[in-house]
Structure formats: C-alpha cells, structure tokens
C-alpha cells in the first residue's frame, strides 16, 4: 500500500509539473486547476500547521498542563484575539493596540541588531590597510572594496549637485552599482535554472527512471 501511494504521489507530481509548465505555451484550464489546487492546499496546510505546531505546543498544552505557571501566556493570546477584531468594522480600532505593540517591539529589537550587524560591523570590515594581503588578487580586491563603498555611498548623496569631481566620483559609484546588479541578475538566472534542473531531475529520475535521481 505504501508503494502504491508513493507511485501515485510521483505521478501526481509529474502531472502537476506539466500542468504548471503548460502556462509557458499559453494560459489554459490545466494550469488554472493546478494553480488553484496549490493555493487551496497551501492554505489548508498552513491552517492545520498553525493549530497543531504553533498554538497547541506554545499555548493550549502549557495552559492545560500547568495553568498556575503558564497563565502569562494568556496575555499574547488575548492580544492575538484583539488583532482579529479588525474583521469587525465597528470595533476594528481595538486591533491597533496589539499591532502597535508588535511594531514597537520589532522596531526596538531590529534597530539594535541591524545597527550592529549591518552598519557598525560592515563599516568596520571596510576599515583596513588595503595593501596588506597574501597575494595581489587580495590587495586589488580590498582596494576595489574601499573605492566601491565610498563611491557608491557618494552616489546616494543628493544634497549636492553631481558635477565636477563630485560628479565623476558618483559616476564611478554607478559603475560599481551596475556590476552588483549584473551579479544579482546572474545569481537570479542561476537560481531559476536550478529550479528547472530540480524539476527535470524529478521527471527524468523519479518519474521516468531514465537518470539516477
């Protein structure tokens, strides 16, 4: 029986893959069916997952097992319910309180962490002697890192007109930005092709058995 469901799963996977790929030719009912089944399944899966793997272990079970110790969990539970009041137009204003709390807490945590990780540590990493390195490739890389950082930041300084020496520096910054956009495009193309490879490995391996998956 397990084997039967395994084979059925592979066949369904293959058919849904073709249904989704068929959109590349043109929109059609097979694509629409596959898309809607995916959306419905995802919503159902998340609903069940939220109840069984988030609410039950973090709220219901602790409250039922030892209420005296875990009663404090009622506070986030009530805040969660208040958030849902947004669905009732006459009292939707109540939901602003839990939302305000979430935004305030998140801002506080993120401000500290981002300031340390994305500003201070990143800046510190560019403060170096660029001529210290094991080989000339490292040295050139470090020089480019410093020039790229400085010119890139100058490009985003808009309180002075980009002309003269300042304009040339900003222009160099644009070239560095273009290179980074190119790298980002290259990585994105690689990622998309990787997904196609993954699907074809499934079709040719698991489904047709032509290749070793």
């Amino acid at each position: 029986m397990t084997h039967f469901f395994s084979v059925l799963g592979i066949w369904l996977g293959a058919l849904f893959t073709f249904a989704i790929f068929s959109f590349l030719y043109k929109d059609n009912p097979f694509y629409k069916i596959a898309e809607q089944i995916f959306v419905g399944l995802s919503a159902g899966y998340w609903f069940v997952y939220t109840i069984f793997f988030i609410l039950m272990p973090n709220l219901f079970n602790p409250l039922l097992q030892d209420f005296a110790v875990n009663w404090i969990k009622l506070i986030p539970a009530v805040l969660g319910i208040l958030m849902l009041l947004r669905l009732i137009p006459s009292i939707d204003w109540v939901s602003r309180f839990p939302i305000a709390l979430v935004i305030g807490t998140t801002s506080g945590i993120f401000f500290l962490r981002y300031l340390k990780s994305d500003v201070i540590n990143q800046l510190t990493a560019t403060i170096m002697n660029p001529f210290q390195g094991a080989d000339w490739v490292t040295v050139v890389g470090q020089i480019l890192l410093i020039i790229g950082t400085l010119t890139g930041v100058i490009y985003f300084y808009f309180s002075k007109k980009h002309e003269g020496a300042f304009g040339v520096t900003a222009k160099i910054g644009i070239y560095f930005l273009m290179v980074s956009f190119g790298a980002a495009f290259g990585y994105t193309a690689m990622a998309r092709i990787s997904l196609l490879i993954g699907r074809l490995q499934f079709l040719l391996g698991d489904w047709l058995g032509i290749i070793n998956p």
Partner: protein, 278 residues
C-alpha cells in the same frame, strides 16, 4: 524618422531551447569541470577543523520551493558532519524545514549505520519567532526547545547533555531561503554571542548575504546556490544531485548568453538602420 523593428523571436522558442538544453545534459553527462571557490572552501574547512564529538546546529530555514538549490548542500554538509563524527542538532525557523531535514536523514542513514538518533543526531523541530527565538536560544536553549520534534524531553537525549546555550556549540550552519534565516543567525549568533556562523543560501539571496563574508568574519564562507553545492560535494568527495546538475546549468547559461548577444546585435543593427533612415 522611421523606426525599424526586426521581427521579435517568439519567447516560447527560448523556453523550448532552455528545456532541451537542460534536459539533454542530465541524460547524456558531459562532465564539465567544476572549480571550487574560496567561499565554499571556507565552509568546508570550518567543518573539517571542528573536533570530533563537537556539537553544531544545522538550521533548516527553507521549504520545498527552494529544495533543488538548498537540499544538495544541506545533504553534503550533514554527511560531512557525520564523516567527522560531529554531533548534529537540527532546528528549523521555517515549518517545512523539519521535513526537509528528516528527508535527508532518512536518505543518508543507510550510509551511516553507526549514527544514532538522540546520541549523534536530533531534530528539535520548528520554532516560530525568527530573531527572537534565536536570541532566546542563545541564553536558555533548553527553555526554547524543551523537547524534540517527537515530543521526547531533551533531558532523555544524550546529545543534549550539557547543552545550555550557544557557548556549547562549535558553529551554526543555516540553509536559508529568506527571512527568517541566515541573516538573523549572523545578527544574533555571531554579532551578539560571538559564535561562528556559516551556511548556504539560494542564488537569489546570495548578493544580499555575501557582504557578511568579510574581515569581521560575520559569516565563515557561504554556499551560494547550486554551483556552491556542487563545489562542496566535490570538496567532500561525495558527488550528488548538485554535481550532476552542473552540466545542465552551464549549458543553460550558455544558451542565455547566446540569446543576450543575439538580442544586442539585433538592437545595434536596428539603431544603425534607424540612423540611415531605412
């Protein structure tokens, strides 16, 4: 002035070319060479220099949508850890990450019959909360994960003996498809608790994460996309699906480059014809 526009190629031809260009090298393997990058080598060296018996966290922060890119590298790193007798503690900041880790463990378990659940490997399951959860793990690990994914108390699992906070870990390795993921591990585990962090990301998110591989060692190496997964398989001498997909990846990139060149030549010829007033 008249505008000259050459007939555009129906983009469905490009899709067909790419489909065939990816499928054929998967069937008829070419075996194009794979060069290893410094970033992949740094990840490999970190695992290689970790003493046997050490504890590490492998965090599975992805779902099936990113499986083709992240699954091969996660498999390679987990196998490398088992080869080195490193104790693997699995966590997940994404709900489906739990199943991803279980799939890998069940796939490779036959190769490592001595690896025992609870002693050498444990899956603690998913925890919601992202960065807040990681911060709590750094202070009181046992309160965040009082039991494993099967509901077994961690007090009954030998691998969790003495595990109080991040001080008891050698490193954290996150396989990350977005937020929460490797960025949060860096922000908390390295930048707050000063423990080494490494990992792998999808190609799309690589440019945003690569700056953390810097002189401050916020990240120790990074596996970016399927190519880096193939590099890691090569370094750890365990070829898998990433290695077999590299021929297809190279041919697909060649097709894309050829079409970009053809498109630019056509654009240039259109411009020239436009100037001549044809």
């Amino acid at each position: 002035m008249a505008t000259v526009k050459r007939k555009q190629l129906d983009r469905r031809w490009l899709f067909l070319f790419l489909f065939v260009g990816v499928a054929l090298p998967l069937i008829f393997v070419i075996g194009l060479p794979i060069e290893t990058s410094e970033n992949a080598r740094m990840v490999y060296d970190l695992v290689e220099t970790t003493p046997p018996g050490s504890k590490v966290i492998l965090s599975f922060d992805y779902d099936p949508g990113s499986k083709p890119e992240l699954h091969p590298m996660a498999t390679a790193v987990m196998k490398h850890c088992f080869d080195r007798d490193i104790k693997v503690i699995v966590t997940a900041l994404w709900p489906m990450g739990v199943q991803m880790a279980e799939e890998i463990f069940s796939d490779i378990h036959d190769e490592y019959p001595n690896v025992k659940y609870g002693r050498d490997y444990v899956n603690l399951g998913f925890k919601a909360g992202g960065i807040v959860t990681i911060q709590s793990m750094g202070k009181q690990f046992r309160e965040v994960f009082p039991e494993d994914m099967n509901g077994t108390s961690i007090d009954e699992l030998p691998i969790m003996d003495g595990m109080k906070n991040f001080d008891n870990l050698s490193f954290v390795c996150s396989f990350s498809a977005g937020d929460p993921g490797i960025k949060q591990w860096v922000q908390v585990t390295h930048d707050k608790f000063n423990r080494p962090v490494t990992g792998g990301v999808t190609g799309v998110s690589a440019p945003a994460i690569l700056p953390y591989v810097n002189a401050q060692q916020q990240l120790i190496g990074l596996l970016a996309g399927l190519k880096a997964a193939a590099e890691y398989e090569l370094l750890s001498k365990s070829p898998g699906t990433a290695t077999s997909g590299m021929d297809a990846q190279s041919i697909a990139h060649l097709i894309i480059i050829i079409f970009i060149v053809i498109g630019n030549i056509n654009f240039w010829r259109d411009k020239k014809a436009e100037k001549r007033g044809e």
